[in-house]
Structures are given as structure tokens and as C-alpha cells.
Amino acid sequence: MILFQERFKEEVREYFERLESGLLLLEHEPENFQVIDEIFRIMHSMKGSGGMFGFDLLSDVTHDLESLFDIFRSKKMQVNSEVISFTLSSIDGLQHLLTQEPTEEHYLLAKKLKEEAVMLIKKLNPSPAEINSDENTNERVVGNRPLDANQITYFIAFKPNENIFENGTNPLYLIDELNALGECNTQMSFDQLPDLMQLDPGKCYTTWEIFIATTEDIETLQDVFIFVNDKATIEIEKVSTGNVIHVEAILADFLNTRINSETWTPLEPELAEDIFQEDEKTVVLTETKQSGETPKTAAFSNTTVDSIRVDSQKIDQYMNLVSELITAQSRLDMLSLKLHNSDLELITESIEKISRQLRDNAFDMSLIPLQSIAVRFKRLIHDLSKTLDKQVELATDGLDTELDKSIIEKLIEPLLHIIRNSLDHGIENKEERAAKSKNEVGTISIKASTVGSYVQIEISDDGRGLDAAKIRTKAIAKGIITEHDKLSEYEIFNLIFEPGFSTSELVTDVSGRGVGLDVVRRKVQEMRGSVEIESELNLFTKFILKLPLSLSIIDGLLTRVGDNYYVIPSSAVKKIFMVNQQMLKKDFRQVVELEGNQIPYMNMHEEFETELDLPENQYAVTVSYGNQSFGLVVDEVVREYQAVIKSLGKLLNSQDIFSGASILGNGQLALVIDTNKIIQKYS
């Protein structure tokens, strides 16, 4: 059951997301009944399943939310933004209630949510009688189940309608069930059976008369026929206390009374039986439901069993194994080259092909579309625009762009941070926008696309833009730069990523909680990505994030320095030049002139190699650093190399210029350079 509970929790989280996106959609299209219906259905599912898996509070609260949406579903009222905001905040509350061991706090929360929901329902629907009015508050009438083993004999007349088979009922099963409940004396009657020519095999002509001696109460007997109540005539009468099945006289007596339409008085009646009040066993809750057909298509988010859910850890494991396989395969490659055995070469080739396909496949599996986190953006914008009293629209493009799952996870926070900033600092309030003759409704747009081996995400707002002069003054005041520093506009913009920089003069509730954009940059760089900024005063601010598709496999340039190998990520590489020692000026500026540009460089041989002499000819690999170039000088550029990155482990955690290591085919280690870090450190 625990397993199912976990599944259920996952499912509920999915429900929450669908609810959120649905609610946000409703904000714009309050008359979208498909969405209302879907919300209703989700609430309903949570209510039903919540109880099954032991999340009673969840079930309890969703019950009221379901009632709330029933109002809109039955078109009595239109959804308004109060309802949407309320439901959104209830969903937040529900997330806390997703617990099986509720504490006092949980109960209070549930109570509060329920009260609020009921208040809202009352407000919207002044005739409270409409909602749950027929909820049966009477205690269920409990049958007088004899506590001792004393049996009671009942008579049951069971006359199915002719068409009973049409509902898939097999009356024999019901007789069987009675037999399981006690000792039976069953008589079948074929009185109604027509001539063979008129007989329709699809119809039922049989009726039954049964005496049963049982310890079960009459409700249980009625329960046997619960599905056929409307398809058959069922009469149950008490014949006698005790088992009189074998007392022919009593049975005959009883039947005679019936034939003469007289009232049979049960023998030795002990208890007043007023238990015929209900003919159905459970009365859980009932609601006024407008039953009409629900639309055929859901407006958003289709569920399908074409996909299966796999624990993300398993995917990670799979990726890991595939990377081991690729390492092993490249060793096999080396060996096969050495041995010159044509048979071996054939096998090697096919293994190479398969492992390449396997790698692509594994890679593909761990990719998920950005869309999967889009609802978080929408929610943030919805909530914040309310808080800040700004009208903001979100425009998205290319959210089907896929990224590695682990990157997406790490990306959420920086993206939300940027959006929060845009809303708070970027987009102006209505008055200000009107004064600038801008559209009162601001726009934040998120655009994603795949560019080569990385994904580019642009988040822009049409707000007030960055004021270079203001940033400069501020940076000087904060001591980040000095008055003498000459910086380009681009460099000035990038100052806002510096730790301790915050452009807002007021610390607002929204952003500026001491966590600045420097965190965004750090997080993005941790993923071997980059973030840049473009802006025009009073027009726009645009953040451009570039991220690798995957964290575990990268395209790189395999280079050699002395006896050691280093991998430079291809995404950073601009050009490769052959250089000699004369070109590598070692004056105080340490620059190399390439294609007429002076480029700062670092000679890796000098930094990392201690034993071997500096070769005469070396290679300068220029890599981009922000919008500048930087040269990494190596002894040799070996080849392009698809590096499966392994972490360096605990002991080497303290260094930060290498993001990992890759094992070459010959078993040698190649360190993967984090170009941003190495440049920061050595330039």
C-alpha cells in the first residue's frame, strides 16, 4: 500500500500542476467549461482517491472545492478572479495536507480551508440548500444484527424483469451469494416461460423463492440485490427467529399466508424492525449534480498510458551505465585497432554503433520539455502581478524545447528569480506606463530554442530597461568598481550580476531579499551555461541564458598538455590557432595577437606541466568569455571528443577549475575544463 500511496502523491502533485494551469487559463477564459469540468473532475478524483489512500484531510477539503466548482460547472455562476485566487491558494494549502500523519496544524489548516470554501460557496450561491442539501446527515440505520449466533429465517421472493440480462447481470450469482450467507432452501419457478418458439434467449423468465436461515441482518440480504433493485421485484420478509428451514410446516404456512395476501406475523418477534427505511447500504454523501454529458475532449493535458512513469533515479542510473559502456567501448576500439583482427573489428564496429544508439536513446529519455515548468512561471506572474498591482501578460515561445531533467530542475530557481526581477523592477506600474504611452499591460516573454549543442532561453520584459549611468553610480557606491574604471555598456549591465548589487532602492517583499542576480549567474555557470543581458532604457531588458543540453555528456575538444589530457567544452570554443613562442608575448599584459586582435591567454603548459619543456609550437584555443575571447594555450589539439563526464569525487571538491573528468579509451584520464572558472581564476 505504501507504494500506492507514493504513486498517489505523485499523481496529486500532477493534479496540482494541472489545476494551476487550468485555473490560470480560466482567468482569461472564465467561460471555458472544458477547463471547469477538468478542475471539477480532478477535485473529484482527489476526493475519492484521497480517502482510499488515507489522505483524509485532502479528501475532506477537496470535497468542498468540488462543491465550489460544481456551481460553475452547472453554470449557475461565472468564475471570477476571487475564486481563482482562492482556489490557487487552497492548492498551496492542499500540498501541506498531503500527509498521512496529520498534526494539529494540519487539522487547523484543513478546517480553515474548508471554512473559506464554504463561505465562498455561500457567497456565490445564496441558497445553500442547493449544495449538499441532500447530504444525508441522519445516522445510518443500523440493522439489529443479533450478537449471538442465533439465526433468523427470511423469505425472499426474487422476480427479475425480463430484461435483466441487458445490464450484464447474471441472477445466478446473486443466488450463489445468498447461499454463501446462510442455509438456503431455493425454489425456482418457470411459470413465465413461453413456448420455445417465442422464447428469447436474451431474456430472463425465471423467478426464485428462497428461504434463508442466516446470522446476517436483513440489510445484508437486501445488499445482495443492490444492483438489481430497479430490474427486479425483491421482497424480503422475516419468517421466524431461529433456523426453521427444515420445519416444512412453518414454511408451508408462510407460503399459504402469502398466497392469500395475508400479513404474516414473524414467529417470536423480538425486535421492532424499522430497517426498511433505506434500501442502499451506504450513504456517504450526495450532491446535486447536473448530469449532462461531459465534453469529449479535455481542454488541456491529455493523459495517456503510452508513457510509463520511471523513478528519476533509475534514469540517472541508466545514464551512468551507458556512460560506463561508452568508456568500455572506446577501450575495445583501441584494442581492436591494435590487434588488426578483422573479426574483432566487425564486432567492435557493431558494438560501437549500438552503444552510440543506446547513448542517444538514454540521452533522449532524460530530456523533458521546458513546458513542464511553465506553469510555475505563470503562477508566479499571476500572483505577483496581483501583489504589485501591475498588469502583466506572459508570452511564451518554443517551450517544447527539451533539456536534461537535471538541468531543468536546476533552472527553475534562476528563471523564477529573473521573472521576479522583471516584474518587480522591470515592468512599470500602470501610471508610469501610461505616462510613457506604453500599453498598460506589460509583457514578459520567454523564448526558448535549441542552438547547436546548447539551449538558449531568453526572458525579456518591455519595462523600464537598465539605466547604465545609474548602475555605474551604484556600483561605485558599493565599491564594486572604482570611478576610474572605464567600462562598456555591456560590462556595466553585467555588473548587476555581481554579488552585493541590487538596483532596487527599496527592499520590496518581492525581490531584493538579499539574494541577488549573482546567484542566478552562479547557478547557471554551475551547469556550464552562461547568462547575458541586453537592455535599452525605457524599452526592454532581456536576459539570455545559454545552457548545455545535458550535464553528463558533452562535446569537447581533446587537448594534450605535456603528458596529460584536457577536454575543453566545444560550446565555448571559438577558433584554434597554431602559435609559436615568439607570438606568445610574455610582457606584463600577456596577450597573443591573433587575426589582428590582441587576446589575453593562459599557457596551460606553464601552469600545469612541471617536468617537460615548453615545445616551440603550441596551439591557442580561443574560447568565449562573456563577449570577449580568451586563449587557452595547449601543446596539441588531439581531436574532437565526446566526453562522458564523471564527477571528481569528494577529495577533489575544493578545486573549481575542472568540472569533472572523462576516461579515455586507453584508460587515461582527461580533465574537463570549466572555461569560465579557469578564466576568472587566471586572467
Binding site: 504513486r7 471539477f40 445490464n167 443492490i226 456517504v284 450526495t286 491529455n302
Partner: protein, 121 residues
Amino acid sequence: MSKQILIADDSESIREVLAFSLRNAGYEVFVACDGEDALRFFDGRTIDLLLTDFHMPNMNGLELIRNVRNLENYTFLPILVLTTENQKNIIKEARDAGATGWLLKPFNTEKLIQTLRKVIR
């Protein structure tokens, strides 16, 4: 041969619990995530019982039941509706559409099997 039961429910956890309980009880189980999906299973398989949710996307339980009843070989198929409603009009609608009976959530395995035995052996 064990009886083959088809479950149609848009909630994965419900599907799993049902499938688990029913498989343990010795039935063969198929699962579908909505009415449309469920309908596909009637092609080329022998289904002995349909257990369907009431509210589902794409094709709800009611439509599914009507569709199944119109299939050539399934006029007499036992069909149970899975629902939290026990209000009569919901059940009545399902019955009118051709459902054999209903199973109310929440249920436990015992209740499930007990209900099942009313319509299938």
C-alpha cells in the same frame, strides 16, 4: 482460464490499486486511462468484466458503457461503475446506459472482491 477484467480510470493510483488487488485475486487485468482508450481493448480480446470510472477525460464512463453495450459480443458484459457518488441519479444514469452495478470509493480489497462476485465468477 482466469477471467479478464478491464479497468478504465484516469487516476493512475486507482488503476494500480485495482490492478494489484485483482491480479492478487487471480484475475487477468488490463488497464485503460479513459473511455476512448478502454474501447480499444474490446478489439481482439475477450473481456469478462469492465470496471470503469464515471468521470474521465476524452470519453466518460457513461459514453463508454453505451459504446460497449453496442458492441456485438458485449451485450451481456458485466459492467461496474467506479464512483464516489451514490446519488441515485448518477447511478441511475449509469444503469440506464447499461451498467450492471457500481463500486463506491473508498473501497478496500475485500469490498472490491465482494462486489465483483455479484457479477462475475
